[in-house]
Amino acid sequence: MRLARYLGYRLLLAVPVILGIIVLNFFLIHAAPGDAASVLAGESGAATPEYMALLRHKFGLDQPLSTQFAVYLLNMAHLDLGYSFRNDSPVLELILDRLGPTLLLMLTAFVVAVLLGSLLGVLAASGRNGWRDNLISLASLVAYATPGFWLGLMMIVVFAINLAWLPTSGLDTVGADNEGWDEVIDIARHLVMPATALSLFYLALYARVMRASMLEQTGMDYVTTARAKGQTERRIIFGHVLRNALLTVVTMAGVQAGNLIGGSIVVETVFGWPGIGTLAFNALQSRDLNLLLGIFFVSACLVVVVNLIVDLVYVTLDPRIEI
């Protein structure tokens, strides 16, 4: 009940955000030098003024800006994100095709970073200043300072080329018509390196945050109370300290979920992962403005949704949040 009301409230809040993005998108199109007609005409090579005018009329570019804006809004309301002339296909279709692999990559990286990062943080904090703590702290410092694309390239060289343990790129083995579990395993093998490259930075970050948070919570009064009740140390750490310490990591993960989308553009490009990242990279190179803005819109919506989910998790974890 509490959650349902909160969800409704948050969805309501998301509306102006999405509207803002749409408006921004529209003005970005018009701020770009030239218009769709000149781009198309430029590509076909023969741009007579008559042909340009025809094109402009066809796309409604000869209408006043306010009319164009109204049409644009109407199109967005129907989820019509425009047409990519480059790919000769509607933008929405292109994006939906790529959404699956990107979500798979991002979610895997996110879950691994939060779970494994928290686990390492707990291990480091419980063996404070021992070899385990030092090892984890050193490793996370190195991981923290390593750029994702470099790590990706190095992994390709070592694990794909030299050792040949893992496939170099793509989502699955081309031409192999795997089915059922074989396909799952095939995709998982392709996923290992990109997910590692994408998550390592965050994993290291969360390990450090979790360690600090655990140590901070260990000094709290309620820990003394739990001890005075006769609880075992294990139950104190996992039942009380961990639960409270996790709140910090979840807050942070929520803020950074959006950054993962940016990170995935680089990683997808390095690993030839057929997701939105590579699509954006290609759109950027070929100046496919419609497609680029469509991607911008969809990723913005993605960030909104991810933040919403994280907030819902946070609200269930922390009863003190007033909603």
């Binding site: 003394t224 001890r227 009740k229 009380h240 009863p319």
Partner: protein
């Protein structure tokens, strides 16, 4: 409490503490927080430990449950509770003692409860730990406890989180939790200090009633002489990690022997408000990192003599059940507060 309820003198003590010292060591300094404290508490008796901030009251209580950080703390002396040698207990027996035989109420009920669990869950956790109860049985018992500590609409409050309760209710919930497994000894570390004045009195009255009904031995730490006179059978006055005077509450209030106790009473009686407590005595307590050789109250004592700087005064007994540590004990002159 009135004299008729006083426990008999020949009952075996519930708590016996002999020459307890507690030191905290860190890289920079060693803090001598408790320096040779001895006292005993009989079953059903209430001992108030009185003293200003930093005198080692909380450390003494925590040492009794071994709640101090183990690595940095050195505890010597003997602590015996219900025949058990607390300092010698292994981890398992210690856990059985904590919350089972002995339980503690803390000063700040907001931070002493885990914010992410309901108060009911936290009581149930204790019950299941010590009593091996089923979930339903523990909940029913928790409900009884909430009724016992007079929490209104207890059923609903069980499912409240600590932040949803007022300070007074939180402390009542804390008391319910402390009483849940029928402890024989209750340690209360300034349980009313953080509460509003009116709530303070209600919680105090509740604690006194429960203590009598359940017959628990109780050690009650406070700054406040008024609170002590309400609830105590005996009073121990602590200064710089030592007990400087101890005895039945009526005797001490009527005839304080130690200059520090006298100063304490003068400042409470003539002071503007009770919370001003000991500020009326000029000077400040000694640095616990470098304890002076002689009487630790010497530098602030209005009747200090040269011998007070040489050694800590020995124990003397002005009457059978009183103890004072002052060289002047037995001499006529009285401090002029």
């Amino acid at each position: 409490m009135d004299g008729t309820l006083m426990p008999q003198a020949d009952i075996a003590p519930l708590v016996e503490i002999e020459d307890l010292t507690v030191r905290f060591t860190s890289r920079e300094a060693t803090v001598s927080a408790v320096n040779g404290v001895s006292f005993s508490v009989k079953p059903g008796e209430v001992l108030c430990i009185l003293g200003e901030s930093g005198s080692g009251k909380s450390v003494t209580l925590r040492a009794m449950m071994r709640l101090l950080p183990e690595k940095r703390t050195t505890i010597t002396g003997r602590i015996t509770i219900a025949g058990q040698d607390v300092l010698g207990l292994n981890a398992r027996d210690l856990r059985a003692l904590r919350g089972g035989l002995v339980s503690m109420i803390f000063q700040e009920p907001m931070t002493a409860l885990d914010p992410v669990y309901t108060v009911g869950e936290q009581i149930i956790e204790t019950l299941r730990k010590h009593r091996n109860m089923s979930r339903e049985g523990a909940r029913a018992r928790a409900l009884d406890l909430f009724e016992l500590v007079k929490i209104p609409s207890p059923e609903r409050r069980l499912d409240s989180y600590p932040h949803e309760l007022s300070g007074g209710l939180r402390q009542r919930a804390m008391i319910a939790m402390a009483l849940s497994c029928g402890p024989r000894l209750l340690l209360a570390d300034e349980p009313t200090t953080a509460l509003d004045a009116t709530v303070q009195i209600q919680v105090l009255i509740l604690l006194r009633r429960l203590q009598r009904e359940l017959g628990m031995g109780t050690i009650f730490v406070t700054h406040d002489l008024g609170v002590a006179s309400e609830i105590a059978d005996r009073i121990a006055v602590m200064y710089a990690g030592r007990i400087v005077e101890e005895g039945p509450v009526a005797d001490i209030l009527a005839n304080p022997r130690h200059p520090y106790t006298q100063g304490l009473m003068a400042s409470t009686v003539h002071g503007q408000h009770r919370d001003a407590d000991i500020q009326a005595i000029p000077g400040s307590p000694p640095d616990l990192r470098r304890m002076p050789a002689g009487c630790s109250f010497g530098p602030r004592c209005p009747t200090s003599q040269p011998r007070c700087r040489e050694a800590f005064p020995p124990i003397s007994h002005p009457s059978a059940d009183r103890m004072v540590r002052c060289f002047r004990e037995g001499e006529e002159a009285k401090a002029s507060f």
